[in-house]
Subunit: 282 residues, 2 copies
Protein backbone atom coordinates (compact mmCIF):
# COMPACT_ATOMS: atom_id res chain seq x y z
CA UNK A 1 0.00 0.00 0.00
CA UNK A 2 1.32 3.42 -0.98
CA UNK A 3 0.77 6.18 1.59
CA UNK A 4 0.69 9.81 0.38
CA UNK A 5 0.08 13.12 2.11
CA UNK A 6 -0.01 15.69 -0.68
CA UNK A 7 -2.23 16.39 -3.69
CA UNK A 8 0.76 16.22 -6.02
CA UNK A 9 1.70 12.75 -4.74
CA UNK A 10 -1.91 11.56 -4.97
CA UNK A 11 -2.28 12.69 -8.57
CA UNK A 12 1.09 11.20 -9.52
CA UNK A 13 0.18 7.88 -7.90
CA UNK A 14 -3.07 7.70 -9.90
CA UNK A 15 -1.74 8.97 -13.22
CA UNK A 16 -0.86 5.55 -14.60
CA UNK A 17 -4.27 4.14 -13.63
CA UNK A 18 -6.06 6.98 -15.44
CA UNK A 19 -4.00 6.84 -18.63
CA UNK A 20 -4.24 3.06 -18.92
CA UNK A 21 -8.00 2.91 -18.41
CA UNK A 22 -7.90 1.17 -15.03
CA UNK A 23 -10.97 1.76 -12.85
CA UNK A 24 -10.50 3.67 -9.62
CA UNK A 25 -12.69 3.30 -6.51
CA UNK A 26 -12.54 5.99 -3.84
CA UNK A 27 -13.59 5.58 -0.21
CA UNK A 28 -13.58 9.01 1.50
CA UNK A 29 -13.41 8.68 5.31
CA UNK A 30 -12.71 10.72 8.42
CA UNK A 31 -10.56 7.85 9.75
CA UNK A 32 -10.85 5.90 13.01
CA UNK A 33 -11.95 3.11 10.73
CA UNK A 34 -14.34 0.40 11.85
CA UNK A 35 -16.14 -2.56 10.28
CA UNK A 36 -18.50 -0.18 8.45
CA UNK A 37 -15.59 1.43 6.63
CA UNK A 38 -14.09 -2.03 6.02
CA UNK A 39 -17.29 -3.05 4.21
CA UNK A 40 -16.98 -0.01 1.90
CA UNK A 41 -13.35 -0.82 1.18
CA UNK A 42 -14.15 -4.48 0.49
CA UNK A 43 -16.86 -3.51 -1.99
CA UNK A 44 -14.52 -1.00 -3.66
CA UNK A 45 -11.85 -3.73 -3.82
CA UNK A 46 -14.26 -6.09 -5.61
CA UNK A 47 -15.44 -3.50 -8.14
CA UNK A 48 -12.28 -1.58 -9.13
CA UNK A 49 -8.71 -2.08 -10.30
CA UNK A 50 -7.33 0.54 -7.92
CA UNK A 51 -8.70 1.35 -4.45
CA UNK A 52 -7.98 4.73 -2.84
CA UNK A 53 -8.97 5.56 0.75
CA UNK A 54 -8.74 9.11 2.05
CA UNK A 55 -8.52 9.87 5.77
CA UNK A 56 -9.33 13.49 6.56
CA UNK A 57 -11.25 15.00 9.48
CA UNK A 58 -12.81 17.80 7.45
CA UNK A 59 -13.01 21.01 9.50
CA UNK A 60 -15.57 22.73 7.24
CA UNK A 61 -18.29 20.20 8.10
CA UNK A 62 -18.02 20.82 11.86
CA UNK A 63 -19.93 23.66 13.51
CA UNK A 64 -18.18 25.97 15.99
CA UNK A 65 -19.59 24.05 18.99
CA UNK A 66 -19.10 20.58 17.55
CA UNK A 67 -16.47 17.89 18.21
CA UNK A 68 -13.77 18.73 15.63
CA UNK A 69 -10.88 18.75 18.10
CA UNK A 70 -12.20 15.75 20.05
CA UNK A 71 -12.92 13.64 16.96
CA UNK A 72 -11.03 10.33 17.44
CA UNK A 73 -7.93 9.74 15.33
CA UNK A 74 -5.62 6.71 14.97
CA UNK A 75 -3.64 6.75 11.74
CA UNK A 76 -1.64 3.65 12.63
CA UNK A 77 -4.68 1.47 13.26
CA UNK A 78 -6.33 2.92 10.12
CA UNK A 79 -3.27 2.02 8.02
CA UNK A 80 -3.27 -1.53 9.40
CA UNK A 81 -6.94 -2.01 8.52
CA UNK A 82 -6.40 -0.60 5.03
CA UNK A 83 -3.42 -2.88 4.41
CA UNK A 84 -5.43 -5.87 5.59
CA UNK A 85 -8.21 -4.97 3.16
CA UNK A 86 -5.86 -4.62 0.19
CA UNK A 87 -6.06 -0.85 -0.29
CA UNK A 88 -3.65 0.39 -2.98
CA UNK A 89 -3.36 4.03 -2.02
CA UNK A 90 -3.97 5.81 1.29
CA UNK A 91 -4.29 9.61 1.29
CA UNK A 92 -3.67 11.34 4.66
CA UNK A 93 -3.60 15.06 3.81
CA UNK A 94 -2.87 17.67 6.49
CA UNK A 95 -5.56 20.37 6.82
CA UNK A 96 -3.54 23.09 5.06
CA UNK A 97 -3.10 20.82 2.01
CA UNK A 98 -6.85 20.92 1.32
CA UNK A 99 -7.63 24.33 2.86
CA UNK A 100 -4.67 26.59 2.12
CA UNK A 101 -4.75 30.24 3.23
CA UNK A 102 -7.22 32.24 1.12
CA UNK A 103 -9.50 29.25 0.46
CA UNK A 104 -12.97 30.62 -0.24
CA UNK A 105 -14.94 28.38 -2.65
CA UNK A 106 -17.79 26.16 -1.47
CA UNK A 107 -20.19 23.71 -3.07
CA UNK A 108 -23.71 23.87 -1.74
CA UNK A 109 -26.69 21.64 -2.36
CA UNK A 110 -29.43 24.18 -1.70
CA UNK A 111 -33.07 23.72 -0.75
CA UNK A 112 -34.99 21.35 1.52
CA UNK A 113 -32.57 18.42 1.19
CA UNK A 114 -29.93 20.16 3.30
CA UNK A 115 -32.35 22.15 5.50
CA UNK A 116 -34.16 19.10 6.92
CA UNK A 117 -33.05 16.38 9.39
CA UNK A 118 -29.44 17.04 10.51
CA UNK A 119 -29.45 20.27 8.50
CA UNK A 120 -31.78 21.85 11.04
CA UNK A 121 -29.26 21.64 13.88
CA UNK A 122 -26.04 21.55 11.86
CA UNK A 123 -26.14 24.60 9.55
CA UNK A 124 -23.24 24.53 7.10
CA UNK A 125 -22.52 20.85 7.72
CA UNK A 126 -23.55 19.65 4.25
CA UNK A 127 -21.87 22.62 2.56
CA UNK A 128 -18.64 21.35 4.19
CA UNK A 129 -19.38 17.78 3.12
CA UNK A 130 -20.21 18.69 -0.50
CA UNK A 131 -17.11 20.89 -0.74
CA UNK A 132 -14.62 18.32 0.56
CA UNK A 133 -16.16 15.47 -1.42
CA UNK A 134 -16.05 17.48 -4.63
CA UNK A 135 -12.37 18.28 -3.94
CA UNK A 136 -11.56 14.61 -3.31
CA UNK A 137 -13.43 13.66 -6.49
CA UNK A 138 -11.40 16.19 -8.50
CA UNK A 139 -8.15 14.93 -7.01
CA UNK A 140 -8.74 11.19 -7.38
CA UNK A 141 -11.05 11.23 -10.45
CA UNK A 142 -12.61 7.93 -9.40
CA UNK A 143 -15.03 5.86 -11.45
CA UNK A 144 -16.94 4.95 -8.27
CA UNK A 145 -17.10 6.38 -4.76
CA UNK A 146 -18.38 4.52 -1.70
CA UNK A 147 -20.40 5.94 1.19
CA UNK A 148 -22.24 4.34 4.09
CA UNK A 149 -26.03 4.42 4.23
CA UNK A 150 -25.74 5.25 7.93
CA UNK A 151 -25.15 8.86 6.88
CA UNK A 152 -28.30 8.71 4.77
CA UNK A 153 -28.64 12.46 4.34
CA UNK A 154 -24.98 12.80 3.38
CA UNK A 155 -25.46 10.06 0.78
CA UNK A 156 -28.53 11.79 -0.68
CA UNK A 157 -26.69 15.14 -0.78
CA UNK A 158 -23.66 13.63 -2.50
CA UNK A 159 -25.85 11.86 -5.06
CA UNK A 160 -27.65 15.16 -5.76
CA UNK A 161 -24.36 17.07 -6.09
CA UNK A 162 -22.91 14.40 -8.37
CA UNK A 163 -25.94 14.58 -10.69
CA UNK A 164 -26.19 18.38 -10.64
CA UNK A 165 -22.51 19.11 -11.22
CA UNK A 166 -22.11 16.36 -13.83
CA UNK A 167 -19.31 14.73 -11.88
CA UNK A 168 -19.71 11.51 -13.86
CA UNK A 169 -18.95 9.33 -10.84
CA UNK A 170 -21.03 6.36 -9.71
CA UNK A 171 -22.03 6.86 -6.08
CA UNK A 172 -22.34 3.54 -4.27
CA UNK A 173 -24.29 3.53 -1.00
CA UNK A 174 -23.45 0.56 1.23
CA UNK A 175 -25.62 -1.00 3.98
CA UNK A 176 -25.19 -0.03 7.61
CA UNK A 177 -22.92 -2.39 9.58
CA UNK A 178 -24.09 -2.99 13.16
CA UNK A 179 -22.61 -4.32 16.37
CA UNK A 180 -23.99 -7.68 17.54
CA UNK A 181 -26.51 -5.85 19.74
CA UNK A 182 -27.75 -3.70 16.84
CA UNK A 183 -25.92 -0.41 17.47
CA UNK A 184 -24.88 1.12 14.16
CA UNK A 185 -21.08 1.27 13.82
CA UNK A 186 -19.76 4.80 14.24
CA UNK A 187 -16.41 6.34 15.09
CA UNK A 188 -18.35 8.44 17.62
CA UNK A 189 -19.47 5.37 19.62
CA UNK A 190 -16.14 5.67 21.45
CA UNK A 191 -17.53 8.78 23.19
CA UNK A 192 -20.23 6.73 24.98
CA UNK A 193 -19.95 5.95 28.70
CA UNK A 194 -20.49 2.33 29.71
CA UNK A 195 -24.08 3.09 30.71
CA UNK A 196 -24.82 4.97 27.47
CA UNK A 197 -23.22 2.16 25.45
CA UNK A 198 -25.63 -0.28 27.10
CA UNK A 199 -28.60 2.00 26.31
CA UNK A 200 -27.58 2.87 22.73
CA UNK A 201 -28.87 -0.33 21.02
CA UNK A 202 -32.38 0.78 22.02
CA UNK A 203 -32.23 3.24 19.12
CA UNK A 204 -31.71 0.45 16.58
CA UNK A 205 -34.35 -1.70 18.29
CA UNK A 206 -36.90 1.10 17.84
CA UNK A 207 -36.06 1.19 14.11
CA UNK A 208 -36.33 -2.61 13.80
CA UNK A 209 -39.77 -2.43 15.46
CA UNK A 210 -40.81 0.26 13.00
CA UNK A 211 -39.77 -2.01 10.14
CA UNK A 212 -41.90 -4.80 11.62
CA UNK A 213 -44.89 -2.46 11.90
CA UNK A 214 -44.57 -1.58 8.20
CA UNK A 215 -44.08 -5.23 7.21
CA UNK A 216 -47.20 -6.01 9.22
CA UNK A 217 -49.14 -3.61 7.03
CA UNK A 218 -49.07 -0.23 8.81
CA UNK A 219 -49.06 2.54 6.19
CA UNK A 220 -49.58 5.57 8.41
CA UNK A 221 -46.20 7.34 8.68
CA UNK A 222 -47.23 9.39 11.72
CA UNK A 223 -48.16 6.28 13.72
CA UNK A 224 -44.87 4.55 12.93
CA UNK A 225 -42.86 7.68 13.73
CA UNK A 226 -44.81 8.08 16.98
CA UNK A 227 -43.92 4.53 18.00
CA UNK A 228 -40.21 5.12 17.34
CA UNK A 229 -40.29 8.37 19.31
CA UNK A 230 -41.98 6.75 22.30
CA UNK A 231 -39.58 3.81 22.27
CA UNK A 232 -36.47 5.99 22.12
CA UNK A 233 -37.84 8.50 24.64
CA UNK A 234 -38.10 5.62 27.10
CA UNK A 235 -34.29 5.27 27.06
CA UNK A 236 -32.76 7.00 30.10
CA UNK A 237 -30.46 9.89 29.06
CA UNK A 238 -31.82 9.91 25.46
CA UNK A 239 -32.86 13.26 23.98
CA UNK A 240 -34.43 13.01 20.54
CA UNK A 241 -33.28 15.49 17.90
CA UNK A 242 -35.58 14.08 15.20
CA UNK A 243 -37.42 10.98 14.05
CA UNK A 244 -38.55 11.28 10.44
CA UNK A 245 -40.04 9.13 7.72
CA UNK A 246 -38.74 10.36 4.37
CA UNK A 247 -38.12 9.51 0.73
CA UNK A 248 -34.50 8.23 0.74
CA UNK A 249 -33.67 10.09 -2.50
CA UNK A 250 -35.24 13.51 -1.93
CA UNK A 251 -35.49 13.36 1.91
CA UNK A 252 -38.99 14.81 1.55
CA UNK A 253 -41.41 13.90 4.36
CA UNK A 254 -43.80 11.03 3.68
CA UNK A 255 -47.36 10.85 4.94
CA UNK A 256 -48.39 7.53 3.47
CA UNK A 257 -45.89 4.86 2.66
CA UNK A 258 -45.03 3.37 -0.72
CA UNK A 259 -41.87 2.31 -2.53
CA UNK A 260 -38.69 2.56 -0.50
CA UNK A 261 -38.98 4.60 2.70
CA UNK A 262 -36.30 5.78 5.10
CA UNK A 263 -36.85 6.18 8.82
CA UNK A 264 -34.06 8.42 10.10
CA UNK A 265 -33.28 9.39 13.68
CA UNK A 266 -30.82 11.59 15.52
CA UNK A 267 -30.56 11.14 19.28
CA UNK A 268 -28.31 12.58 21.94
CA UNK A 269 -27.14 10.21 24.66
CA UNK A 270 -25.64 12.62 27.14
CA UNK A 271 -23.34 14.80 25.05
CA UNK A 272 -22.91 12.26 22.24
CA UNK A 273 -25.08 12.70 19.16
CA UNK A 274 -25.86 9.45 17.34
CA UNK A 275 -27.66 8.98 14.04
CA UNK A 276 -29.22 5.83 12.68
CA UNK A 277 -31.78 4.86 10.06
CA UNK A 278 -33.46 1.98 8.36
CA UNK A 279 -34.73 1.52 4.80
CA UNK A 280 -37.92 -0.43 4.27
CA UNK A 281 -39.32 -1.57 0.92
CA UNK A 282 -43.09 -1.12 1.23
CA UNK B 1 -16.21 19.55 -36.80
CA UNK B 2 -18.50 17.35 -34.73
CA UNK B 3 -21.56 19.12 -33.29
CA UNK B 4 -23.20 17.65 -30.17
CA UNK B 5 -26.13 18.74 -28.03
CA UNK B 6 -26.15 16.33 -25.08
CA UNK B 7 -23.80 15.48 -22.23
CA UNK B 8 -23.72 11.83 -23.26
CA UNK B 9 -22.63 12.75 -26.80
CA UNK B 10 -20.01 15.18 -25.49
CA UNK B 11 -18.47 12.60 -23.15
CA UNK B 12 -18.53 9.93 -25.87
CA UNK B 13 -16.86 12.29 -28.34
CA UNK B 14 -14.04 13.03 -25.88
CA UNK B 15 -13.54 9.51 -24.56
CA UNK B 16 -10.88 8.52 -27.06
CA UNK B 17 -8.92 11.74 -26.43
CA UNK B 18 -8.91 11.10 -22.69
CA UNK B 19 -7.90 7.45 -22.86
CA UNK B 20 -5.12 8.05 -25.35
CA UNK B 21 -3.54 10.93 -23.48
CA UNK B 22 -4.43 13.65 -26.00
CA UNK B 23 -4.65 17.15 -24.55
CA UNK B 24 -8.05 18.86 -24.57
CA UNK B 25 -8.59 22.63 -24.67
CA UNK B 26 -12.02 24.02 -23.75
CA UNK B 27 -13.37 27.43 -24.74
CA UNK B 28 -16.64 28.06 -22.85
CA UNK B 29 -18.72 30.77 -24.53
CA UNK B 30 -22.23 32.21 -24.56
CA UNK B 31 -22.12 32.26 -28.35
CA UNK B 32 -22.62 35.18 -30.77
CA UNK B 33 -18.93 34.73 -31.37
CA UNK B 34 -16.66 37.61 -32.36
CA UNK B 35 -12.94 38.18 -32.91
CA UNK B 36 -12.34 37.99 -29.15
CA UNK B 37 -13.71 34.45 -29.04
CA UNK B 38 -11.76 33.62 -32.21
CA UNK B 39 -8.53 34.61 -30.44
CA UNK B 40 -9.32 32.18 -27.59
CA UNK B 41 -10.07 29.39 -30.04
CA UNK B 42 -6.88 30.06 -31.99
CA UNK B 43 -4.80 29.88 -28.83
CA UNK B 44 -6.57 26.66 -27.76
CA UNK B 45 -5.91 25.26 -31.26
CA UNK B 46 -2.17 25.98 -30.95
CA UNK B 47 -1.86 24.46 -27.46
CA UNK B 48 -4.03 21.30 -27.55
CA UNK B 49 -4.68 18.17 -29.58
CA UNK B 50 -8.46 18.54 -29.33
CA UNK B 51 -10.39 21.84 -29.17
CA UNK B 52 -13.90 21.95 -27.68
CA UNK B 53 -16.10 25.07 -27.78
CA UNK B 54 -19.30 25.24 -25.77
CA UNK B 55 -22.10 27.67 -26.67
CA UNK B 56 -24.57 28.14 -23.83
CA UNK B 57 -26.37 31.27 -22.65
CA UNK B 58 -26.30 30.34 -18.97
CA UNK B 59 -29.52 31.41 -17.24
CA UNK B 60 -28.13 31.16 -13.68
CA UNK B 61 -25.70 34.02 -14.26
CA UNK B 62 -28.43 36.47 -15.29
CA UNK B 63 -30.36 38.44 -12.69
CA UNK B 64 -34.16 38.68 -12.90
CA UNK B 65 -33.98 42.13 -14.55
CA UNK B 66 -31.10 41.37 -16.87
CA UNK B 67 -30.93 40.59 -20.57
CA UNK B 68 -31.24 36.76 -20.63
CA UNK B 69 -34.06 36.63 -23.17
CA UNK B 70 -32.62 39.46 -25.27
CA UNK B 71 -29.07 38.07 -25.32
CA UNK B 72 -28.06 37.74 -29.00
CA UNK B 73 -27.90 34.25 -30.50
CA UNK B 74 -26.75 32.99 -33.92
CA UNK B 75 -25.83 29.31 -33.90
CA UNK B 76 -25.24 29.20 -37.65
CA UNK B 77 -22.75 32.06 -37.69
CA UNK B 78 -21.09 30.60 -34.58
CA UNK B 79 -20.69 27.21 -36.28
CA UNK B 80 -19.16 28.83 -39.34
CA UNK B 81 -16.61 30.73 -37.24
CA UNK B 82 -15.75 27.57 -35.31
CA UNK B 83 -15.26 25.54 -38.50
CA UNK B 84 -13.04 28.26 -39.92
CA UNK B 85 -10.90 28.17 -36.77
CA UNK B 86 -10.49 24.38 -36.84
CA UNK B 87 -12.62 23.51 -33.79
CA UNK B 88 -12.98 19.73 -33.35
CA UNK B 89 -16.09 19.59 -31.19
CA UNK B 90 -18.93 22.11 -30.71
CA UNK B 91 -21.28 21.66 -27.74
CA UNK B 92 -24.69 23.38 -28.04
CA UNK B 93 -26.70 22.07 -25.06
CA UNK B 94 -30.32 23.09 -24.52
CA UNK B 95 -31.02 24.65 -21.10
CA UNK B 96 -32.75 21.54 -19.67
CA UNK B 97 -29.67 19.43 -20.50
CA UNK B 98 -27.57 21.40 -18.01
CA UNK B 99 -30.35 22.44 -15.61
CA UNK B 100 -32.81 19.54 -15.41
CA UNK B 101 -35.84 19.79 -13.11
CA UNK B 102 -34.76 19.54 -9.46
CA UNK B 103 -31.34 21.07 -10.08
CA UNK B 104 -30.18 22.64 -6.80
CA UNK B 105 -26.37 22.55 -6.44
CA UNK B 106 -24.26 25.69 -6.81
CA UNK B 107 -20.58 26.53 -6.62
CA UNK B 108 -19.81 29.79 -4.92
CA UNK B 109 -16.57 31.72 -4.58
CA UNK B 110 -17.34 33.56 -1.36
CA UNK B 111 -15.87 36.75 0.08
CA UNK B 112 -14.75 40.09 -1.33
CA UNK B 113 -13.75 38.75 -4.77
CA UNK B 114 -17.38 38.24 -5.80
CA UNK B 115 -18.83 41.10 -3.70
CA UNK B 116 -16.82 43.86 -5.38
CA UNK B 117 -16.99 45.41 -8.89
CA UNK B 118 -19.78 43.71 -10.91
CA UNK B 119 -20.73 41.67 -7.82
CA UNK B 120 -22.18 44.81 -6.22
CA UNK B 121 -24.87 45.23 -8.85
CA UNK B 122 -25.13 41.65 -10.09
CA UNK B 123 -25.75 39.50 -6.99
CA UNK B 124 -25.62 35.80 -7.84
CA UNK B 125 -23.90 36.43 -11.18
CA UNK B 126 -20.59 34.81 -10.22
CA UNK B 127 -22.35 31.95 -8.45
CA UNK B 128 -23.98 31.20 -11.80
CA UNK B 129 -20.66 31.55 -13.62
CA UNK B 130 -18.75 29.30 -11.18
CA UNK B 131 -21.52 26.69 -11.30
CA UNK B 132 -21.76 26.44 -15.09
CA UNK B 133 -17.99 26.52 -15.58
CA UNK B 134 -17.48 23.74 -13.03
CA UNK B 135 -20.14 21.68 -14.84
CA UNK B 136 -18.48 22.23 -18.22
CA UNK B 137 -15.10 21.33 -16.69
CA UNK B 138 -16.55 18.07 -15.32
CA UNK B 139 -18.12 17.22 -18.67
CA UNK B 140 -15.16 18.00 -20.92
CA UNK B 141 -12.30 17.28 -18.44
CA UNK B 142 -10.01 19.67 -20.32
CA UNK B 143 -6.30 20.14 -19.68
CA UNK B 144 -6.66 23.87 -20.37
CA UNK B 145 -9.57 26.29 -20.47
CA UNK B 146 -9.55 29.68 -22.18
CA UNK B 147 -11.23 32.89 -20.99
CA UNK B 148 -11.01 36.49 -22.12
CA UNK B 149 -9.36 39.10 -19.90
CA UNK B 150 -12.22 41.45 -20.77
CA UNK B 151 -14.27 39.66 -18.10
CA UNK B 152 -11.45 40.25 -15.62
CA UNK B 153 -13.51 39.50 -12.53
CA UNK B 154 -14.89 36.31 -14.09
CA UNK B 155 -11.33 35.23 -14.88
CA UNK B 156 -10.18 35.89 -11.30
CA UNK B 157 -13.19 34.01 -9.90
CA UNK B 158 -12.60 31.00 -12.16
CA UNK B 159 -8.92 30.92 -11.25
CA UNK B 160 -9.83 31.02 -7.54
CA UNK B 161 -12.45 28.26 -7.96
CA UNK B 162 -10.03 26.10 -9.94
CA UNK B 163 -7.37 26.38 -7.22
CA UNK B 164 -9.80 25.92 -4.30
CA UNK B 165 -11.67 22.93 -5.72
CA UNK B 166 -8.50 21.24 -7.03
CA UNK B 167 -9.89 21.10 -10.55
CA UNK B 168 -6.42 20.49 -11.97
CA UNK B 169 -7.10 22.56 -15.08
CA UNK B 170 -4.84 25.28 -16.45
CA UNK B 171 -6.80 28.51 -16.78
CA UNK B 172 -5.52 30.62 -19.67
CA UNK B 173 -6.52 34.30 -19.70
CA UNK B 174 -6.27 35.89 -23.15
CA UNK B 175 -5.83 39.58 -24.01
CA UNK B 176 -8.81 41.79 -24.85
CA UNK B 177 -9.48 42.12 -28.57
CA UNK B 178 -10.64 45.60 -29.62
CA UNK B 179 -12.33 47.19 -32.58
CA UNK B 180 -10.16 49.56 -34.66
CA UNK B 181 -11.48 52.51 -32.62
CA UNK B 182 -10.61 50.85 -29.29
CA UNK B 183 -14.01 49.51 -28.20
CA UNK B 184 -13.56 46.15 -26.51
CA UNK B 185 -15.23 43.34 -28.47
CA UNK B 186 -18.44 42.17 -26.80
CA UNK B 187 -21.53 40.29 -27.94
CA UNK B 188 -23.49 43.05 -26.18
CA UNK B 189 -22.11 45.79 -28.49
CA UNK B 190 -24.94 44.85 -30.85
CA UNK B 191 -27.35 46.50 -28.39
CA UNK B 192 -25.80 49.95 -28.96
CA UNK B 193 -27.59 52.59 -31.00
CA UNK B 194 -25.55 54.32 -33.68
CA UNK B 195 -24.96 57.30 -31.39
CA UNK B 196 -23.96 55.12 -28.46
CA UNK B 197 -21.66 53.07 -30.71
CA UNK B 198 -19.90 56.31 -31.67
CA UNK B 199 -19.54 57.29 -28.00
CA UNK B 200 -18.48 53.87 -26.67
CA UNK B 201 -14.76 54.02 -27.66
CA UNK B 202 -14.44 56.90 -25.17
CA UNK B 203 -14.43 54.25 -22.42
CA UNK B 204 -11.35 52.55 -23.86
CA UNK B 205 -9.68 55.91 -24.49
CA UNK B 206 -10.08 56.78 -20.81
CA UNK B 207 -8.32 53.51 -19.91
CA UNK B 208 -5.51 54.16 -22.42
CA UNK B 209 -5.00 57.61 -20.87
CA UNK B 210 -4.84 56.02 -17.41
CA UNK B 211 -2.15 53.64 -18.65
CA UNK B 212 -0.20 56.62 -20.00
CA UNK B 213 -0.47 58.40 -16.64
CA UNK B 214 0.98 55.35 -14.86
CA UNK B 215 3.71 54.93 -17.47
CA UNK B 216 4.53 58.62 -16.95
CA UNK B 217 5.14 57.87 -13.26
CA UNK B 218 1.82 58.55 -11.48
CA UNK B 219 1.54 56.14 -8.51
CA UNK B 220 -1.53 57.57 -6.79
CA UNK B 221 -4.43 55.21 -7.56
CA UNK B 222 -7.10 57.72 -6.55
CA UNK B 223 -5.79 60.37 -8.99
CA UNK B 224 -5.73 57.90 -11.90
CA UNK B 225 -9.22 56.61 -11.05
CA UNK B 226 -10.46 60.19 -10.81
CA UNK B 227 -9.14 60.97 -14.29
CA UNK B 228 -10.89 57.90 -15.77
CA UNK B 229 -14.15 58.83 -14.04
CA UNK B 230 -14.02 62.42 -15.31
CA UNK B 231 -13.21 61.32 -18.84
CA UNK B 232 -16.01 58.76 -19.02
CA UNK B 233 -18.51 61.06 -17.28
CA UNK B 234 -17.94 63.52 -20.11
CA UNK B 235 -19.46 61.03 -22.58
CA UNK B 236 -23.11 61.93 -23.29
CA UNK B 237 -25.47 59.14 -22.14
CA UNK B 238 -22.75 57.39 -20.03
CA UNK B 239 -23.61 56.44 -16.45
CA UNK B 240 -20.66 55.03 -14.51
CA UNK B 241 -21.28 51.91 -12.42
CA UNK B 242 -17.71 51.71 -11.15
CA UNK B 243 -14.12 52.65 -11.95
CA UNK B 244 -11.67 50.71 -9.77
CA UNK B 245 -7.93 50.12 -9.52
CA UNK B 246 -7.41 46.59 -8.19
CA UNK B 247 -4.99 43.69 -7.87
CA UNK B 248 -5.86 41.52 -10.92
CA UNK B 249 -5.58 38.27 -8.91
CA UNK B 250 -7.43 39.13 -5.68
CA UNK B 251 -9.46 42.12 -7.02
CA UNK B 252 -8.57 43.91 -3.79
CA UNK B 253 -8.47 47.74 -4.04
CA UNK B 254 -5.06 49.31 -4.51
CA UNK B 255 -4.00 52.63 -3.03
CA UNK B 256 -0.46 52.83 -4.31
CA UNK B 257 0.62 51.05 -7.44
CA UNK B 258 3.18 48.29 -7.84
CA UNK B 259 3.44 45.07 -9.80
CA UNK B 260 0.58 44.40 -12.19
CA UNK B 261 -2.50 46.55 -11.67
CA UNK B 262 -5.95 46.31 -13.21
CA UNK B 263 -8.15 49.32 -13.93
CA UNK B 264 -11.67 48.00 -14.36
CA UNK B 265 -14.80 49.91 -15.39
CA UNK B 266 -18.49 49.24 -15.87
CA UNK B 267 -20.51 51.88 -17.68
CA UNK B 268 -24.07 52.07 -18.88
CA UNK B 269 -24.66 53.66 -22.26
CA UNK B 270 -28.42 54.07 -22.26
CA UNK B 271 -29.70 50.62 -21.26
CA UNK B 272 -26.58 48.74 -22.36
CA UNK B 273 -24.02 47.89 -19.68
CA UNK B 274 -20.46 47.64 -20.97
CA UNK B 275 -17.36 46.51 -19.08
CA UNK B 276 -13.76 47.11 -20.00
CA UNK B 277 -10.39 47.08 -18.28
CA UNK B 278 -6.70 47.47 -18.79
CA UNK B 279 -3.71 45.81 -17.15
CA UNK B 280 -0.60 47.86 -16.52
CA UNK B 281 2.77 46.57 -15.35
CA UNK B 282 4.06 49.23 -12.94
Amino acid sequence: MQVVHTKVELRAALKEAHTTGKTVGLVPTMGYLHAGHASLIRRARRENDVVVVSVFVNPTQFGPNEDLSAYPRDAEKDSALMRAEGVDLAFFPPVEELYPPGFTTYVQVEGPMTATLCGRTRPGHFRGVATIVSKLFHLALPDRAYFGQKDAQQLAVIEQMTRDLDLGIQIVGCPIVREADGLAMSSRNVYLTETQRAQAPGIARALFEAREMIRDGRRDAAAVVEHVKKTIAAIDSAAIDYVSMVDPRTLGDLETLSGEVLIAVAVKLGRTRLIDNIRVEV
